[in-house]
Amino acid sequence: MKLKDSLYKIESQHDGVFDILMLDGHPVYEGHFPGEPITPGVLSLAIVRECASMLADKELRYSAVKNCRFAAMIRPAEKLTLTITHTPIDDGSQIAAEITDREGNLRLQLEATLTDSLN
């Protein structure tokens, strides 16, 4: 599973702030939902994971989600800003992340732990 450049594109990136464009045409939209494309909430979590892995410069996966609030839906072709604050821990990262639209409206708020000790 790799979503960068198929589900979303990173237009710019600096200090944990990612300007993201949601792309049209990812196969997931055939099933979520037929005739009404809406980005599955869990794929927003996957986008945060992929970007957090870039920041940590290693492949991370979730080990705990303390709190994740889906404040509003995300749809293809939207322009969003993802802000990640990450603190390295023994076997991964602790992160706080927010996705907002370019007007600053909150879409997703997340506190989670990611690990680099994979299967």
């Binding site: 599973m1 790799k2 196969p27 997931v28 055939e30 099933g31 979520h32 939902f33 037929p34 009404e36 809406i38 599955p40 909430g41 869990v42 794929l43 979590l45 996957a46 994971r49 996966r61 979730y62 080990s63 705990a64 989600v65 303390k66 709190n67 994740c68 609030r69 889906f70 839906m73 000790s117 994979l118 299967n119």
Partner: protein, 136 residues
């Protein structure tokens, strides 16, 4: 009630159909299963990323909501995750061919807001535990 026709209860379709079987026990309890196939979109290096388990749990909750709506003579509608809380994932994630078995309890159901608590296991090993709030 056990159904093999999960698509009569939830609006999700391939490639993001993440429940194979669903069984409704009572209003506050249900079970579901997913056998991981090679073409599952949440596979990464041969095992499932935890986001796939979260989607499986969300769709289990959606099936529970869909079942209740169907029994009430209402149409199945779109549902969305409102929040995820107190979620922990195990060290090992399921691999192709393994079956994920989920037990879900409905903590509260007020209007169109449903709160659930779920645990998924595979071969008796806990994969994920979490609380989720859904709106439909």
């Amino acid at each position: 009630m056990t159904t093999d026709d999960i698509t009569s209860l939830i609006p999700q379709r391939p490639p993001i159909l993440m429940v194979d079987r669903f069984s409704y026990e009572v209003d506050s309890l249900c079970h579901s299963e997913l056998t991981l196939k090679e073409d599952n979109m949440f596979l990464h290096n041969g095992s499932m990323v935890p986001e796939g388990l979260l989607e499986h749990i969300a769709q289990t909750a959606a099936a529970h909501i869909g079942y209740r709506r169907k029994m009430a003579g209402e149409e199945v509608n779109l549902g969305f995750i409102g929040d995820i809380k107190r979620c922990t994932m195990g060290k090992r994630m399921p691999t192709v061919g393994q079956t994920v078995m989920t037990t879900m309890r409905v903590v509260s159901q007020v209007g169109n807001i449903t709160m659930v608590s779920a645990e998924s296991t595979s071969n008796g090993v806990t994969l994920i535990e979490c609380r989720m709030k859904l709106a439909n």
